[in-house]
């Protein structure tokens, strides 16, 4: 019984290490192909498909997040007479953590799943093999444009998220909590520095990279059939979200010391 448990744990550890190794190799290969001129039409197509199309859902998510954070913060801060800090606290939380992480999670759910499903179905229908037979490197053709698109577009989405989150907070602060417009905006200018925003954008670039690499990796290693694609898509979203949360902690540690 005990032996079986140890064996099972050992198998999982080996599998985890195997997967980690393969992901590192994929990252290495992708970076290697980045030295060549990327196919700009592919990159732009992916930027539109993966980035622009995600904007409405990102805006909606972050708008309500900004609103609820302000609702909670304002209620508590007003009790202690600290309403002049609400705008700054919301803006810092938004720029440093909420906008990049939540945008990452939303994009992982939408874009990461789409990348895995698309590449996975190409794999099971032998389209990846067809690419290779036609002397096209799948990493250069499929992974590089998606990586570039995600690394460029997630930070852009975060800029929009920063703005809309703060606007959502402003609406709740002024219309619901009774904080004056001047106090809210003055607090933002007082508390927030450029590095808060830049740090969030650096995080967003990392998250974009995680989403693209995990999405592509899970697609390229999809098992047989429709069931395999479904399983890979779920695994892609779950792995990306977990990695976003873990890396977010360490990035915060490094970026906001």
């Amino acid at each position: 019984m005990l032996l079986a448990i140890v064996e099972s744990i050992g198998r999982q550890v080996i599998l985890w290490m195997e997967n980690s190794g393969r992901i590192i190799i994929l990252v290495g290969n992708t970076l290697f192909h980045l030295r060549e001129k990327p196919r700009m039409n592919h990159v732009l197509h992916q930027m539109a498909h993966l980035g622009v199309d995600s904007l409405p859902i990102v805006l909606l998510t972050i708008l309500f997040t900004g609103m609820v954070i302000t609702l909670q913060t304002a209620t508590e801060f007003i009790k202690y007479g600290a309403q002049s800090s609400v705008g700054g606290v919301v803006a810092i939380a938004m720029a440093r953590e909420l906008a990049p992480v939540l945008t990452g999670v939303v994009v992982a759910g939408r874009v990461g799943a789409a990348i895995t499903a698309e590449i996975g179905s190409m794999k099971v229908t032998e389209q990846i093999d067809a690419l290779r037979v036609m002397a096209i490197n799948p990493i250069k053709y499929l992974v590089v444009p998606r990586l570039l698109a995600c690394v460029i577009m997630v930070p852009i989405l975060v800029i929009f998220a920063d703005v809309i989150g703060t606007v959502g907070g402003y609406l709740v602060a002024t219309l619901y909590a009774g904080i004056s417009s001047f106090t809210y905006i003055h607090s933002i200018t007082l508390f927030t520095v450029v590095n808060d925003i830049i740090g969030g954008l650096v995080k967003a670039m990392f998250f974009g990279g995680i989403i693209a690499i995990i999405g592509c990796y899970k697609g390229l290693t999809t098992g047989e059939g429709a069931e395999g694609v479904g399983r890979a898509t779920t695994a892609s979203v779950v792995s990306s979200i977990i990695l976003i949360f873990i890396s977010n902690y360490f990035l915060s540690l490094v970026l906001y010391r």
């Binding site: 190409m122 032998e126 093999d129 067809a130 290779r132 037979v133 036609m134 002397a135």
Partner: protein
């Protein structure tokens, strides 16, 4: 043109191919026959470098490819075309874009020249004017024909066909057979065709190799294979229940 030397291939400890020696001469059509799961498609994938052998060497046009990197393999693959069992058309592209794909990627042709070749190839496979159709609007036979038009677009020296007539009705199978023979005649390609349709095999082959249990058990011309004394070969080509059924039938005839 193609030479396999002492090839063995295993997946997860299971031997798929063992000690395969096979040569395909320039301009020849070799048909590989054998029951499902005997390793025919694996053999084809080894020839194009999609798989690397556990042991042995794969020579294409005098170059050993089993140890090449993906980028160096691509230089060899430019001279090769393959028709996949399920066509493997790029489903996000139109038929025209599928056929034009290799030309756009590997040649400096103008778009007008590419469109001319696309139109000619589609006409050749009986699908003239279908450039703007999406692959999901096509039947299985039409997909196979587009796949063939795509594969021959860059004028390869070697063509590989993985079960080109599988799942097609006899009339469409005949059409595909004629297209394979046409491609050989017009483009002088060296072809390897994996199939278990004996009528197709005997129609298009210069030589036939029978694979069974991961080993090549017989290689010869169509006539030699028809006359083979090997009960396993006869069981396969006559569609008998077992090799002993052939032995019994032969002794009855004597």
């Amino acid at each position: 043109m193609i030479k396999l030397e002492n090839i063995s291939m295993s997946f997860h400890g299971k031997h798929i191919l063992q000690g395969i020696d096979l040569e395909v001469k320039k301009g020849e059509t070799l048909v590989v026959i054998g029951p499902s799961g005997s390793g025919k498609s694996t053999l084809l994938r080894l020839m194009v470098g999609l798989l690397k052998p556990t042991q042995g060497e794969v020579w294409i046009k005098g170059q050993e490819i089993s140890h090449l990197s993906e980028d160096n393999l691509n230089k060899v693959r430019i001279g090769m075309g393959m028709v996949f069992q399920y066509s493997a058309l790029f489903d996000s592209m139109t038929v025209g874009d599928n056929v034009a794909f290799g030309l756009r990627e590997h040649t400096a042709m103008t778009e007008a020249e590419i469109q001319k070749i696309v139109a000619r190839n589609l006409r050749m496979v009986g699908l003239a004017g279908q450039q703007d159709v999406m692959p999901n609007e096509l039947s299985g036979g039409m997909k196979k024909r587009v796949s063939l038009a795509r594969a021959i677009a860059i004028r390869p020296e070697i063509m590989l066909y993985d079960e080109p007539t599988a799942g097609l009705d006899p009339i469409m199978s005949g059409t595909i057979d004629r297209l394979i023979m046409n491609a050989k005649r017009v483009l002088c390609v060296t072809s390897v065709v994996v199939t278990h349709h004996m009528s197709s095999a005997f129609k298009i082959a210069d030589r036939v190799a029978m694979i069974h249990g991961g080993r090549i058990i017989e290689v010869g011309t169509v006539e030699q294979i028809r006359q083979s004394e090997n009960p396993v070969v006869q069981q396969f080509i006559l569609g008998l229940k077992s090799p002993s059924a052939y032995v019994r039938r032969r002794s009855e005839m004597r």
